[in-house]
């Protein structure tokens, strides 16, 4: 077996790439939510003065990248790869952002799991000595997602309680072996799981099996248990998905208890009328690069298992009757 592998799905980073600089940016609704104080930059206007929300989303992404580089004390020229992903068709936010950054670009699509997929791939590249520094970023926008996956913004829709609200924001991180910051020590890349959920109103339910599978695999591969981590983070399962996730993990023999936190379930306050909670690429990005990294730098968290899940479908596949598949990736982040 390859020397840096552990068990079936886990890889170990011997050089432990560090998050040497990271930045988060989000809209006013996220600012008023529970994680508001952990977000670096809050914008007042979700359109950022742009004529379309698509243009605003790529601006958010670009801004997050610039801020992350500045915090790391580096520039675009120091980055050997830019890994980016978002929810829009043909990942246009990331591609246009890459055009403006001018860094060799690897575009990924893992739906809302993109930030963990990106950090995992970035860590592989840095650990494999194919780069000294890699920039990883992801974004999502309420208005762009609504129009692509659901309905026009102003349409008369009564949202279901299981609906999730796409987070408007972006997160970016610089990975490097030189510098200071939290280390990425392991990654468990997940399988695509499909339990036959067809309604795009139940995305948390579609992703929960994948999250539970990746988590169980991680514990088996590494011989760890929930007790070995200060926090087990999931990305955007939200209220309904997280309930199912906890149930499925319990069936696999692991009890998470108070160690588990789902970013989607906590990002908005109940009075913000957001259905089951948040979703979108920016949701786990704000959780990991905002909450987790800041708590680590303050010494409140030492070892975190951070997972992010993605719902893999398109409006076309959904209308043609295909079910929604889910994916989840996990990272071990330590100080």
């Amino acid at each position: 077996m390859a020397a840096k592998r552990l068990g079936l799905q886990t890889v170990v980073f011997r050089k432990a790439p560090r998050i040497v600089g990271c930045s988060t940016i989000a809209g006013p609704k996220e600012g008023e939510g529970n994680l508001g104080s952990y977000i670096d930059t809050l914008i007042d206007d979700p359109l950022m003065g742009q004529p379309t929300p698509e243009k605003a989303e790529r601006m958010l992404l670009y801004q997050a990248c610039q801020d992350a580089l500045e915090k790391a004390g580096l520039t675009e020229d120091d980055m050997q790869f830019f890994i980016g992903g978002d929810l829009l068709n043909q990942i246009i936010s990331s591609s246009y952002c890459a055009r403006d950054l001018g860094i060799p670009f690897l575009g990924i699509y893992g739906a809302c799991s993109s930030i963990v997929e990106g950090l995992g791939l970035g860590a592989l590249i840095v650990d494999g000595e194919y780069a000294d520094s890699v920039l990883v970023a992801t974004s999502s926008h309420y208005q762009t997602s609504e129009r692509q996956f659901r309905y026009p913004i102003e349409l008369n829709i009564q949202h279901k309680k299981s609906n999730q609200w796409t987070v408007t924001g972006a997160g970016a991180a610089v990975l490097s072996t030189t510098g200071t910051g939290p280390k990425i020590t392991m990654a468990t890349f997940g399988r695509v799981l499909d339990y036959g959920i067809k309604s795009p109103n139940d995305m948390g339910a579609a992703m929960a099996p994948a999250a539970a599978d990746t988590l169980s695999r991680h514990f088996q591969d590494t011989g760890t248990s929930p007790g070995d981590y200060d926090l087990i983070l999931t990305g955007d399962l939200a209220a309904v998905g997280q309930k199912l996730f906890v149930q499925l993990v319990k069936e696999a023999g692991y009890t998470l208890g108070s160690k588990h936190m789902d970013v989607g379930a906590v990002i908005y306050k109940p009075e913000q009328r957001s259905g089951a909670g948040g979703s979108g690429c920016a949701c786990p990005a704000l959780g990991i690069l905002g909450y987790v990294v800041k708590e680590m730098l303050e010494g409140k968290l030492r070892r975190v298992l951070a997972t992010a899940t993605g719902a893999l479908f398109s409006p076309v596949s959904n209308q043609q009757g295909d079910s929604i598949a889910g994916i989840a990736h996990a990272l071990v982040i330590e100080v």
């Binding site: 309905y151 026009p152 008369n156 009564q158 036959g196 959920i197």
Partner: protein
């Protein structure tokens, strides 16, 4: 799909059903009744007003419809109609103001892709099926009526 997988899916569907919160049907019904009733009351008041100007019933009905459609479009443009629908549900969706909202909301959304291929082409993306099947069912019912009664009018 083999049987084990089918069973797994069925069992998971059950788990999802139990985990998903149910909508508050009583509250939604009352809210829909109040919202729909309020919109219809506005329509009736306008009808009564227009009746004093134009006494023909057909003409008054047409003018009232047009006024309600305009009101629905304005409320959509001001960002008020989706707020109303979030609370009033079907009470906001079924009246003609709701139909007006579906066209206006789509027009606003797709204007960004230009007036021809954006707004012009996609304005009826939500309202289209209502028009197609509304006209189709109207035709079928009229045909049945004509056959059964032997008269077109």
């Amino acid at each position: 799909m083999d049987k084990a997988q089918k069973d797994l899916h069925a069992r998971y569907q059950q788990m999802v059903k139990e985990a998903t919160p149910q909508p508050n049907r009583w509250r939604n019904t009352v809210m829909a009744f109040i919202t729909g009733g309020a919109i219809c009351t506005i329509g009736q008041l306008l009808y009564n007003l227009f009746e004093t100007i134009e006494p023909s019933r057909l003409e008054t009905t047409a003018v009232t419809q047009a006024a309600m459609i305009a009101l629905g479009a304005i409320a959509t443009g001001l960002g008020f109609y989706d707020w109303l629908a979030e609370r009033g549900g079907m009470g906001a969706a079924i009246p003609v103001t709701g139909f007006s909202n579906t066209v206006t909301a789509a027009a606003m959304e797709f204007k960004r892709e230009g007036y021809i291929l954006g707004m012009g082409a996609k304005m009826f993306v939500i309202a289209g099926p209502v028009l197609v099947y509304g006209i189709l069912s109207g035709f079928v019912v009229s045909l049945l009526r004509a056959v059964l009664t032997g008269s077109l009018f």
